[in-house]
Amino acid sequence: MIQDIELIHKCIEGDGKAQRELYNRYAAKLMPMAMRYAKSQADAEDILQDAFIKIFNSLESFRQEAQFLTWLKRIVVNTAINHNRKKLYQQPMLDIEKTPLYVEKDLVISHLHFTEIMAMMQKLPVGCRTVFNLFAIEGYGHKEIAEMMEITEGTSKSQYSRARALLKAMIEEASTVVKSNASM
């Protein structure tokens, strides 16, 4: 199989087959990422499409010291944040003092399929969903998230707590349904 770096060079030269090959190689890997930030699959596909257009237009700026997949993921994340920006303004995010307290419980999610978790994440308000993805899945710190989303660090933390609480509530509810179905 042709190496990534060779494929990248061909894409830069405008080779259509190479572009399709690169897309085929990474689209399915990046799609779940876009889905986590979107409220629907169609929305996720819009994000992925814009991200790939940016990827092909900026391949020349890719430096080989970074892992290619990591570089691709960063572009998808940035595209998703831009995509959600208007919705973020329309649904102002609360700061930490206004966040309702939630009693922590240990929850097991291994029995759930990722599509179920994805569906739960898509139900989160856009701000919570974006911050949760950036912090829990992508591994960014609250300071970085605050800069990326043009919010305060406190807001990032409060949004994360809220997302966490809402997700746990949804997981707990789903688990209860599973248990009651099993006992029947």
Binding site: A28, A44, I53, N82, I109
Partner: protein, 446 residues
């Protein structure tokens, strides 16, 4: 980060999900459009530049005589012919028979005037040779016997004495500079021993300027424009709109500073030669003036998505943010351009002119095209805003290069600079200019 976050992270680790085919279709379309446009602008910009270089190179080659036809009936030569005929007339006055016949009738004399010098002497020699008096005749028209001997020596290679002499004389016509042909020929005749008074008359005639006859020409031109436009004089229009309700959303929309893009122009014109150096030109031209910028948002109106270019405004309630994408803005206009050109140099069939004049512009459309496949082209209504003034005046200066192909046709290349007095009105006053170059064809009216 506790187990919950770790489990969540693990759950999505290595997961794959195939998107629908419409994603690739959109990507492919966006990439295809970009390639197509890139080639088009590359052709315009570099194609015209290459043509200019070709013209200049051809000019240099011409100057070195590489395109020169050997025997040619040209203006300078015609003048020489007249003087030579006069010499022939004077010297052959007392000759008998055939020579008097040559000059007796006006019609025949006129025919002789049209002939090239080599042909005249050929005719003369043919006649004289047949009578065995060639040497005597040549002496009568001023050639010394040594020169005749040399010609006769050379003639031994050819079939007859007269042919040999013609080879020698026709060499005199092969100089590339037509204007200096007469002078060069005079030098040669001097070397051959033509008497001084005849030579002086010859040189004088050769140096006389032909009477000026102005030519009119129709012309067509295809060119390339590079449009430079400044930011509005009173700051970005965005600042003026920042007090609107949805400030946060609006302040996040960004357009980068506009960059110039090559674009097409085409036109027709008429030229009137006022003197040997001064020409009045009028032209009607269609121009597309393009700039490139970026946006990070689009708005939706009546089910259509439009790119957002801040100076044109947008609906703040229907803004969608996406990744940064390119915008191509196109201003379309017609202009009437009266100019005066002054010929500063001439090299054979080439001449170089400087030009200056005024442009009267009418801009009738402004289009904003976002380089994403789902975006429609946004058209500005120039009647409702001061964004671009529909009527404008520009100053024009430039350099022109002309090449005369034949009596009817010529080629032209030009490099020009246009400065608009003010592109926008009110708060949108903007300074702008165009650097352009083009190629054209001239058709000279008889």
């Amino acid at each position: 980060m506790d187990n919950f976050e770790s489990e969540m992270k693990d759950m999505f680790d290595g997961v794959e999900f195939q998107p629908s085919e419409r994603v690739w279709a959109g990507v492919e379309q966006a990439l295809g459009e970009k390639k197509k446009k890139g080639f088009f602008f590359m052709w315009q910009t570099y194609g015209v530049a290459a043509a200019l270089i070709l013209f200049i190179t051809a000019g240099m080659l011409y100057k070195n005589g590489l395109f020169m036809k050997q025997p040619d009936a040209l203006e300078g030569t015609k003048q020489l012919t007249e003087s030579e005929v006069q010499i022939s007339t004077d010297t052959l006055k007392n000759e008998d028979g055939a020579h008097e016949k040559l000059l007796a009738k006006d019609g025949e004399q006129e025919e002789l005037r049209r002939e090239k010098p080599g042909d005249q002497i050929k005719t003369l020699l043919a006649t004289k040779s047949s009578e065995g008096k060639a040497q005597e005749t040549l002496e009568n028209i001023g050639l010394k016997s040594s020169a005749i001997d040399e010609s006769v020596r050379m003639s031994s290679i050819g079939e007859s004495d007269s042919e040999g002499l013609l080879i020698d004389l026709e060499k005199l016509e092969s100089k590339p500079y037509r204007a200096s042909l007469a002078a060069t020929k005079a030098k040669w005749l001097n070397r051959l021993g033509v008497d001084e008074s005849a030579l002086a008359a010859l040189v004088k005639t050769a140096e006389e300027q032909p009477e000026f006859v102005g030519e009119n020409a129709l012309n067509g031109r295809l060119g390339n424009n590079n449009f430079n436009i400044s930011e509005p004089a009173n700051g970005s229009p965005l600042a003026a709109r920042a007090e609107d309700a949805n400030f946060q959303a609006m302040s996040s929309i960004e357009n980068r500073k506009e960059e110039t893009l090559g674009s097409l122009s085409a036109g027709i014109g008429f030229s009137l030669e006022l003197s040997q150096r001064l020409t009045l030109n009028t032209a009607l031209r269609y121009s597309e003036l393009r700039t490139k910028t970026t946006s990070n948002a689009y708005s939706v109106s009546n089910g259509q998505s439009f790119p957002i270019y801040l100076p044109l405004g947008y609906d703040p309630d229907n803004v969608n943010f996406i990744g940064t994408y390119d915008l191509v803005n196109t201003l379309q206009g017609l202009s009437v351009q009266p100019t005066l050109s002054y010929k500063v140099a001439q090299f054979g069939k080439f001449d170089v002119s400087v030009l200056g004049g005024v442009g009267f512009d009418y801009f009738f459309a402004y289009r904003v095209k976002g380089e994403l496949n789902f975006l429609s082209v946004k058209k500005a209504n120039l009647n409702d805003s001061d964004f671009i003034k529909k009527f404008n005046v520009s100053g024009i200066t430039g350099l022109g290069l002309n090449y005369r192909l034949n009596e009817q046709f010529g080629l032209a290349a030009d490099l020009n600079y246009r400065y608009f007095l003010s592109t926008g009105g009110g708060d949108n006053r903007r300074q702008s200019s165009v650097v352009g170059f083009g190629l054209g064809v001239n058709y000279f009216l008889q």
